[in-house]
Symmetry: C2
Subunit: 140 residues, 2 copies
């Protein structure tokens, strides 16, 4: 088990190196968290989750790493929640649904090409998001 974890972390190390990112322990742990938890976490959620493994961890470091990962195209920055930024491990384009009651964000598998445009009305598109808000299945 320890060996298996070590192997997984080494894999992440290689992934980061291949993207020209120095694989610090903190970056590896954030990447590992994002890869294994598709819960659209906030900075605070990630901090609480991994600070146990890194006693000296600073929240500022999580901010730095996520901004850096966003610039490198590893995570997507979701502004669907007006209280705090949420982050998403980048995969195939999809929409999001945020519950106004419980705050959870769900992936929505939507057939739509709006996320694939390069330009809209003359403006250069870098990010595209389709966001729904309401009451989720569980809270209904």
């Amino acid at each position: 088990m320890v060996n298996k974890n070590k192997t997984l972390l080494n894999e992440i190390k290689e992934i980061l190196k291949s993207k020209d990112i120095k694989p610090s322990y903190q970056r590896i742990m954030v990447y590992n968290y994002m890869k294994n938890h598709r819960n659209h976490p906030s900075v605070d959620t990630i901090f609480k989750a991994i600070s146990g493994s890194i006693p000296t961890l600073s929240k500022t470091t999580i901010y730095n790493i996520l901004n850096f990962f966003a610039k490198k195209g590893i995570v997507d920055t979701l502004t669907i929640d007006k209280n705090e930024v949420r982050y998403d491990f980048i995969k195939t384009p999809h929409a999001h649904f945020m519950c106004k009651i419980c705050g959870e964000i769900f992936d929505i598998h939507l057939k739509s090409d709006v996320c694939l445009k390069d330009f809209v009305e003359g403006h250069k598109v870098e990010d595209a998001h389709v966001d729904f808000k309401g009451v989720c299945k569980g809270c209904l």
Copy 2:
């Protein structure tokens, strides 16, 4: 001119009354601003714009009024900008483009039915938004 303004403000008064909203001077002024400025303003923008006409105006009042207007379906709450909430006078469904350079938000006239769904994957939809971010025509 003074008479014409007075007529316009009286029209707004009637609109608010018809929606079961007590037409205070502050509410009339915020409604008037939103109707005439389609620039997706923040609370601060509106405050700066109309506080000249209402010397005692408090920013808390703008927050109260906009939240109330949102509940009444008069304005739409845009969370596209992670720094501050922006507000949109509700009209026919459309998408938005926000420029990462100048911060301006543009209306995008998009043929898409994603905004018209009542349910997605079992979740009850109350709001739907299609947001683009990038570099606007002017900043390119």
